[in-house]
Symmetry: C3
């Protein structure tokens, strides 16, 4: 009888709050899952050391701004993965009717979506500065990217309606389309003018292909159609983060360190954009 009272009380008291303790226990019991987080703490730490070393001689303001915004990517990442591991930004959610795991407790690493709100704008800032774009386009790319991440967080946290989970997924994807349009249709032309077309082309393809992986993984993973289990989903995100963040940043910084002149002698419009933001 006590158990019944307890269960009823728990249900009433916290119908859909995020239960941290369950999540931390899941993490401790599932080595494969926790490894997917620890590997990123280690790689982000390594990336920070390498990037600081690579940027030690960068001196012109515009190149330094690209360098710092790129360096912020692994800095946000190490804080983000530490927060997941500490249980601060991870929890379990009870999925709504309609979901493949309806009624079950599903691990939600919601901190990922939150910290992407901080790290992905830094990637776009670095790319936009590299392409020498103007303020209006940079503002558009970054605000739409933040819209994408925040509504992605809403999709992950919604537990009252299966339909509304996918509605937020749709809104988030619409924001993503605007970001893609800028990456594929607007900035390549700006990069030609700025003399950075080669490196921008490489990084653009890398970013577009890898960023497409995130919504696909969400749809297939535990929070969407649940075709993949929780550890595989987590490794998927961690793998994408490794490529889209540290490898991306390494390529960008290696080029900037070796071509600081090109970056600092960009055309007037580009320079303006660089120093203005």
């Amino acid at each position: 009888m006590l158990d019944t009272a307890t269960a009823a009380a728990t249900r009433l008291a916290q119908p859909d709050a995020l239960l941290q303790t369950n999540a931390i226990d899941m993490l401790r019991e599932d080595t494969l899952l926790s490894a997917s987080l620890w590997v990123n703490v280690a790689l982000a730490g390594l990336a920070i050391l390498v990037f600081v070393y690579m940027g030690r001689n960068v001196e012109t303001p515009r190149a330094r701004l690209i360098w710092v915004s790129t360096l912020l990517v692994p800095l946000v990442s190490i804080a983000s993965y530490s927060a997941l591991l500490s249980g601060l930004t991870i929890g379990t959610l009870e999925m709504p009717a309609g979901h493949a795991l309806a009624g079950e407790s599903v691990l939600s690493p919601w901190g990922r979506y939150l910290t992407w709100t901080l790290s992905t704008p830094m990637i776009l800032l670095a790319l936009g500065l590299l392409a020498g774009t103007d303020t209006a386009k940079l503002f558009t790319a970054i605000t739409m990217d933040i819209g994408m991440c925040v509504t992605g967080l809403a999709a992950a946290l919604t537990t009252q309606s299966y339909l509304l989970r996918w509605a937020f997924y749709g809104i988030s994807s619409a924001f993503f389309l605007v970001v893609l349009y800028i990456l594929l249709a607007e900035w390549p032309a700006d990069a030609v003018e700025a003399g950075t077309a080669d490196i921008f082309g490489t990084l653009k393809v890398l970013t577009v292909v890898l960023w497409l992986g995130y919504p696909i993984l969400w749809a297939l993973g535990t929070e969407g159609l649940a075709l993949l289990d929780v550890a595989v989903t987590s490794w998927g995100y961690s793998g994408l983060d490794i490529l889209a963040k540290y490898v991306f940043a390494f390529l960008l910084l290696r080029w900037v360190a070796g071509n600081e002149q090109t970056v600092s002698t960009a055309p007037p419009a580009a320079t303006a954009a660089a120093t203005d933001d």
Copy 2:
């Protein structure tokens, strides 16, 4: 006895947390209330389509910046109202002693205050760019506006003291006075120099009158003196949002699309402000 244990446990466990489930049930049972949210999802969606179409030929950077910041208003709005409907940013609060509904569960659509933090700066950015103002004034208007929204959120969420609810209301109103001062005393003169005095004058009056409606509605609604019931309060906010956001944005965009030359040939100071931010 079970019920007593349950009730006691609930009270102990979540003394003043936001109960999502109650709020979602209230929404489902009250058609008038939920209609006040759905109508904004529909209108925001329509506004997005119309605004994208209206801005299709806008090309100069400054006009595009105004267009994108205006377009972000219904984009934030559709996400905000979806979050209210999904139960993510809505809850019930037990009002403190002194409040007309003290001890009762009152529906708190606290997500409104949170998302205004994101949408109202976009309105001020568009207005400031239209007036061709300088960075210092734009920074002032936007930071004070964010202060107004965040302390408004605090006013809505405070449940330990009736007095402190109104203290936050007072702080929020003080921030609002600074915004009003800039709208009424600073930007009109800038707009004359920029050659946008006519349209700025119209939008200024619309904004000032409608924005004054929000604190008045808060004071009269369920969260303040509780003279209006929850559905009427919600319709009040939704109606204000429709006029202050979509109608406002429509008028602004129609003018910008038809007067792109005026916007892009603003005086030096104004141009600087436009491209710098």
Copy 3:
């Protein structure tokens, strides 16, 4: 038996959520503790009035930008301390094994860390503008400062692992080192060029010495090694806030009001930085 059920339910339902009610009761019973908060509400209010008066004649855009960002410091502060007093941003946490108070409920004024995220960038913005620095350095200082505050918040909220509390403390301190480097090695040279070396030197020393006090206090206070009790810790933070915020801002504003010419006739690079941000 009822009590057992209730206690079990409470433990299950809210394993590590922040209990507001306990915190508010602690505040009400501990006059010394609550006085440490009220004194800041009073002083922040006084500072706002004094600063508005001091800045009444400041007219050039760059000096006004410094003035507004400085004025925002007590504005954020009064909202922050009101939120602590209202119980909104204060709670009790059960410390993890290893902590001196392991298993006990410890008062966490986590709202302090959250609001420093908003107020300390304003201090750095004012200092950077005073030194006439470029956008890249200002961006670096402010983003690293935000990283410091957000990971400080994570350190305060982590309850699952004592080690991870100190890991976040370490990450936060690493961000702080970057801020210190900019304050001590980069901006002094910029300030010499801008003709503001004297006042910048004074404010730099004040800021560096006082800001070092915060991590030391965290380490010694209830959230770290718990050598100081909760009221002493709170008075420590309140005292540091009084010196690092209101006294700092007073010195800065008095100088700006009396030397507006120097600020507005800064060298080109400095002027660009001022109007660009």
